[in-house]
């Protein structure tokens, strides 16, 4: 450990640490322009110079690059240092007089009136000060090498080769991240119809999805991560003390033998974009239930405040029920959860803004424990409810101050009139629908689906967790729209059923099974090939086939195929079926 003194305070620093870093440990701030923690210091701007007294002598050194020496005495803002800084900043301000960070450092250094003027004066606040951080980031850290300094002297500027759009740029945003004057901006071009504030996700390629994730560990977005494009960066690996990050991890395909499967693959949220009359994706401030849920969340884009795109709170919010549900054109079923979350939003929006809330409903379905009481409460709090579907949402700002107002045109069936209600924000309660790949999952497991596309339970009333296949269970919204208490109940039921089977230690087989009368069997083996469960073995010595009872599922395919009639399917023998036919055709 090295002992040194900075501004009269002594400290210890490990070998290799720079003066700038050591000063940081002491909470001493030294101004920098071309320094960034992610980039190897290159001491270009010289603003960070400090006076260093060692055995070699006294001199001004760049603190960002100079390593600490044992016994060094450093002064970060005596007159010697400040004079040097003022000179540098004076020259820079001559060319870039309005850049905030330059003005701030100039003030701290005591620069009164700039002395110099420049023919290249750039009055912008976000002018490029040629610090070179972006170039270093792109070349050294990212490895894309899309930008560098072009030309020399007065013409020197940061550019792509020949000033044309670069093919090497991987749009990682590293240049924008390190730029001290915000000269480089990183913007999303194609919003894909979603409100842009919800499109901008995490700021980094490695991120923790939400603060409520389980497990709460970061994930790497392979599409944005620089390493996967250039094999550069890997700053996260450097930063991770337990060395828990490994970019080379591959997907593993693991085969597990199981006896039972629970399918709980969830749902998809209905996308209301095709319902052009509601303007989702076209008009500002029209959101789905899930968008608003994110906005209201304390970890969301607005930290839980209810805000319009222009940053102001809405004066009135319209909540449209049954978007995509109870609809002949989309889904005829009711999505079950939307009335309650609409009331929740009504309550929260009224609480957080002072605006009006209008619910446009067909029925209010408050079916659960405490639900109706909550509905009464929300009504008492002043939420408006209008019974009628909304025909369309139009933009209707008559004056500049009203710009962005949305007009909800609806029918109020209880008073028998059409109404037009101006609001600032619209929430669409979009339906719960089966997952896009539900048919593939169904085929994989042999799961049937009901007409609405959700997986079919064995019995709608008496067996909502099992399916017609033994050992295969469904739970949650994969089986049908439901809220959290019902999902928990169903999942617990399914788990209990599965545990019961395991605990029993033995599996009960249906008595419906095939049996081969070896006396009649000719050993033709037609049945062997037909059996879908490969449950029929051929006994060489006797030249007959035999059914392996535990494997036989009793489908009867072999019974019908046997040319000798040697197989009986218990419960469905030929004689039994003939008797049924006689009975049924006797009237």
């Amino acid at each position: 450990m090295i002992k040194l003194t900075i501004d009269g305070k002594t400290t210890e620093a490990p070998e290799g640490m720079t003066i700038l870093q050591a000063a940081k440990l002491l909470d001493i701030k030294i101004p920098t322009l071309c320094y960034h923690p992610l980039i190897e210091p290159f001491a270009a701007c010289r603003v960070c110079v400090v006076e260093s007294k060692t055995e070699q002598g006294e001199e001004l050194v760049p603190s960002c690059q100079t390593p600490c020496q044992d016994g060094m005495v450093v002064n970060t803002h005596n007159e010697h240092v400040l004079k040097a800084r003022r000179f540098i900043l004076d020259m820079m301000l001559a060319r870039w007089p309005n850049v905030p960070i330059l003005k701030k450092y100039a003030e701290e250094a005591g620069l009164q009136a700039p002395r110099f003027s420049s023919a290249l004066k750039d009055e912008r606040q976000d002018a490029c000060i040629l610090c070179g951080l972006c170039v270093k980031a792109c070349n050294d850290v990212v490895g894309a090498s899309a930008i560098s300094f072009a030309q020399r002297g007065l013409e020197r500027h940061v550019a792509t080769p020949f000033d044309v759009a670069s093919e090497d740029c991987i749009a990682c945003g590293a240049c924008a991240l390190v730029c001290p004057t915000s000269h480089i901006k990183f913007e999303v071009e194609d919003h894909k119809g979603k409100p842009p504030e919800f499109l901008l996700g995490p700021n980094t390629a490695i991120y923790v999805p939400t603060l409520q994730s389980v497990p709460r560990v970061p994930v790497i977005d392979k599409e944005s991560c620089i390493y996967f494009k250039t094999e550069g960066c890997q700053k996260c690996v450097e930063a991770c003390e337990p060395h828990a990050i490994n970019h080379k991890m591959e997907d593993e395909v693991v085969e597990i033998d199981v006896g039972q499967v629970l399918v709980a693959t969830g749902f998809d949220a209905f996308d209301p974009t095709p319902m052009t009359q509601y303007g989702y994706g076209r008009l500002d401030n029209v959101y789905t239930g899930l968008d608003i849920e994110r906005m209201l969340n304390a970890t969301g884009p607005t930290a839980g405040r209810v805000l319009l795109k222009n940053g102001k709170p809405p004066r009135a919010v319209g909540i449209l029920h049954c978007i995509g549900s109870r609809d002949e054109n989309y889904h005829r079923y009711c999505s079950r959860v939307c009335c309650m979350f609409a009331l929740k939003f009504s309550h929260l929006i009224k609480e957080r803004t002072q605006g009006e809330v209008y619910n446009f409903y067909i029925d209010i379905r408050a079916f659960g424990k405490g639900y109706e009481e909550f509905y009464s409460r929300v009504l008492h709090e002043g939420a408006n409810v209008i019974r009628g579907k909304v025909a369309e949402i139009v933009q209707a700002g008559w004056s500049k101050s009203d710009e962005g107002t949305l007009l909800i045109r609806c029918e109020d069936t209880l008073i028998g009139r059409f109404r037009e209600i101006p609001v600032d924000m619209v929430v669409l309660c979009n339906a719960i629908e089966p997952r896009r790949d539900a048919d593939q999952i169904g085929r994989l497991f042999g799961l049937s689906r009901s007409p609405d596309g959700f997986f079919l339970e064995r019995h709608p009333k008496l067996d909502p967790v099992a399916t017609t296949t033994d050992g295969l269970f469904v739970a949650g919204c994969a089986q049908g729209p439901k809220d959290i208490p019902d999902t928990v109940a169903q999942a617990s039921a399914a788990a209990a059923r599965m545990l019961a089977t395991i605990a029993k230690g033995a599996v009960e087989i249906d008595p419906v099974r095939a049996e081969i009368d070896e006396q009649y069997c000719s050993g033709c083996r037609i049945c062997n090939a037909l059996c879908p469960y490969k449950a029929i073995d051929y006994i060489e010595e006797k030249n007959v086939s035999r059914v392996n009872s535990p494997l036989c599922k009793g489908c009867g395919t072999c019974v019908a195929a046997c040319p000798a009639g040697a197989i009986t399917g218990s419960g469905f023998t030929d004689k039994q079926v003939y008797a049924e036919l006689e009975g049924v055709l006797s009237v």
Binding site: T468, P532, Y533, C555, F572, E582
Partner: protein, 158 residues
């Protein structure tokens, strides 16, 4: 049994598989859908259990039409039983021609457990088709005796 073409009520036998078509028929029932009462249902575990002799026996016992309903291809509860049913029915249709039985009196359809509506539709449509074809009227010599009584195809005790 009235064989007058105006009031002729066809006798249809249906072989339904337990998992899909029978459940679908049950759904049609619980949904209170109207389907023709002419259909007499025989439940089997799988459409692959349907032996061609069942179908022929049905005609011999007086059925005017036979309906075989199974799971959709790819969805058979026992993997492939419905494909076997398909092969057998297609072959049987050709043989029926040799017996002088109109092959339109045998029909194979796929009805899943959720398709109550389809079951009702198929059942009604087939009943009407067979009604239009008229009674089967097989030769008395090939008809089967049941419990010692002769099954008459002509007269009916009014």
């Amino acid at each position: 049994m009235d064989t007058n073409s105006k009031n002729f009520e066809p006798r249809i036998v249906g072989f339904l598989c337990n998992w899909c078509s029978y459940t679908g028929a049950d759904l049609a029932g619980t949904s209170r859908m109207k389907s023709a009462p002419n259909l007499r249902i025989i439940r089997l575990m799988c459409s692959g259990r349907v032996d061609p002799s069942f179908i022929l026996r049905a005609y011999q016992l007086g059925a005017d039409g036979v309906l075989v309903l199974g799971c959709h291809p790819g969805d058979c509860h026992y993997q492939e039983g419905n494909y076997k049913a398909l092969r057998r029915v297609l072959l049987l249709k050709r043989i029926l021609r040799e017996f002088g039985i109109d092959e339109r009196r045998l029909r194979l359809e796929w009805v899943s457990a959720a398709e109550g509506e389809k079951f009702a539709k198929v059942s009604n449509e087939f009943t009407e088709e067979v009604r239009a074809l008229g009674p089967l009227r097989l030769e008395t010599s090939v008809l089967l005796q049941t419990q010692g009584e002769e099954l008459a195809t002509q007269e009916v005790a009014a």
